[in-house]
Amino acid sequence: MKESTRSVLLVTARTLAASVCVGVVVVARATVGWGSLAIMLVALVGLLAVLASYNRRFR
């Protein structure tokens, strides 16, 4: 796979993952309960993981 194609795919995947995490937080908030809170916290950790994966190559 070409480097530029790989880069575009990676950016798209990260953007999608971040959007899904934000969406999960918004949707899970509608239901009150420990389960929903756990899902929201997992989504928050997911967002941070996306950030860490973007940052990894600059370390």
Partner: protein, 333 residues
Amino acid sequence: MPGDPPGTLPRTRPRTGPRTGPGRAAGAAPRHGGAGSAPRRRGNGLFVLACLLPALVLFALFMVVPTVNVFRMSFYTWSGFSPDMRFVGLDNFTALLDDAQFVRAFQNTVALLVVVTVVTMGMGLFLAAIMTRQRLRGRTLYRFVLYVPSVLSVVVIAAIFSAVFDQENGLINGTLRALSLDGLRQVWLGDQDLVLWSVAIAMVWQSLGYYMVLYMSGMASIPEDVYEASALDGASPGRQFFAITLPLIWQNLRTTLTFFVMSAVNLSFVLVRAMTGGGPDGSSEVLLSYMYKQAYTNSSYGYGMAIGVVIFAFSFLVSLLVSRATRREPLQF
């Protein structure tokens, strides 16, 4: 020095005295060190300690003691007024597990933290890049307009948005009515599904200008020739943003992100308190407002402090994770 042209720095006089180090003649007195250095160091240490002492005392008195007290009080049941305090161990924390309102407040806090941070940081970066890189007409005015909310008191902002979201004569519903879009009118601060996002809009509006200006200052320090060189290589503005701007302001971004996570928790409390009071039916309650309610309105001080411990642990953990996730070597330019 006399005879030097104005503006020149004084030249260092060549050292003619005895040299310390391997080349020094045996028996020559050292410039520093020797028998007199230990008392002098001790004297310096005492002086430094005396200078630090007032700040340390104030820090201990107003930061360490209250924080430790929060942890201590979370193990007690106390009304906040009576002299009777009863040690209950972890009972306050186990009671939190069965408190649906606490869970709801926690969920609202996480939702605000995620949504407001993503929107504020994203829009702040975008607007800063536009203002810095594009030669917009009247950009000083835009910058001023966007920065004004940061100077306003949060209570004033709450009053402004209470007026904006007013059900009858508010800016939003009034505009919708004027446009004959009555079907889209909402009870912005009275609908349980909408109220938190109304508060989120106020939070973004309040913070956006401040972070935009911070990012603009970071971007302004990037040398123009870096952009010129990349433009000659055929880089688009988007590519320049991700390959030049973002890496070169990363330390700035990292600091603001960590700072924002902590300030968002505090800001949400003030806005919720002033705009909705946690209502309707607790649907806009956040952790800090719920803690305040329990400790000072419900006279359950110990229970409120247990919520405070959870807030402390949560904020600390998220800040730590953000700091770890964004850590990188600073770039020199």
